[in-house]
Amino acid sequence: MGNLKEIKARITSISSTMQITSAMKMVSAAKLRRAQDAITQMRPYSQKLQEILTNVSGTLDLSENAYADARAVNRVLIIAISSNRGLCGGFNNNITKRVNHLIKNEYPMTDVHVLSVGKKVNDAFKNTKYNVRPDQIGGAEEMFNDLSFERAAEVAQFAMDSFVNKTYDEVLVIYNQFKNAAVQEVMTEQLLPIAATEVEGEVQTSNGDYIFEPSKEEIITDLIPKTLKLQFYKSVLDSNASEHGARMTAMHKATDNASSLQKDLKLEYNKARQAAITNEILEIVGGAEALKGG
């Protein structure tokens, strides 16, 4: 049983840590709400864009498009989305693990480059041969300082350009998909080449009625980069919401652990205190007995 002063000091330090973790939890909860709002804001745009695209491309073959060119894969770009800050459980680690797993198992013979969005994954890859320096691509480095569509679009544009000029034959995005505040799932999505368009259920195409200005083909070439940018933006927003969710959960657990630790220490403190009192009484009684006897 440690001495009283020691235990007291530990209790104080744990309570102050608890204050920090619970404050961080609150902050994350507030940021999570904002991040979720951003996702909700984007949804009507993405729905409408999808709708217009299906309206236009109902009869059109996409395989002609430069972004749909599926060729032999020699060079791969992996865009790994993490966060700038830690203290969010396995959030960043899971991304790093998935990237390493992909490099080892899926692309052992391929030339792989990793573009990290967010400091944490960049820290993991900046000294490896896979690294693409994010500070050379506008928007990638400061993505989370001020999250906006424009920044995400810059990164997506870089990926699109390097796909078209054949620097990379495939572009993958790895991020934490937001399930709910406590659950994130690491997702690997193929950004380029565009996978064959899935027909999602029965989309009513009122195709014939529309006037297309200037022409169907040109609208398609204009829309496809937009959908790609949007898809990437969606991943970034999802990752952002997941980050705050993960941090909230991690901080909640930390606060719980701290309070149970605090409880145990208080018990120990009280026991030690009582033992000290008992000892003192024994000494006094012993002294009194000795005096009486003399």
């Binding site: 984007m42 745009y45 409408k48 829309l223």
Partner: protein, 96 residues
């Protein structure tokens, strides 16, 4: 007819309008009530909106909207590009 202008980040404008001019990729054009369904890409420029008279107040959802000094029923919005779809007197602009 109803006009909605949205970007991935936010909604720029929503309201009842009489006429809208767009900076189309092949030149500017205007749509009025009853226009045939159209999908068009837009280039950088300004969308000019004539507000409908029964639209009492509009939400200035973004600072990018400017009022016309001579006519308070006309507003202008700068966009960098986008797509417009009109169908059944409902116009939706996806701006960049």
């Amino acid at each position: 007819m109803r006009l909605e202008i949205i970007t991935p980040d936010k909604k720029l404008f929503e309201g009842e309008v009489d006429a809208v001019s767009f900076p189309g990729i092949d030149g500017s054009f205007q749509v009025l009530k009853g226009h045939a369904p159209i999908i068009s890409t837009l280039k950088e420029g300004r969308i000019k909106v004539s507000l409908s008279n029964d639209e009492k107040e509009i939400d200035m959802l973004s600072g990018e909207i400017e009022n016309d000094p001579s006519n308070d029923r006309i507003i202008r919005l700068s966009i960098k590009g986008g797509v417009v779809e009109m169908q059944n007197d409902k116009i939706i602009v996806l701006a960049d």
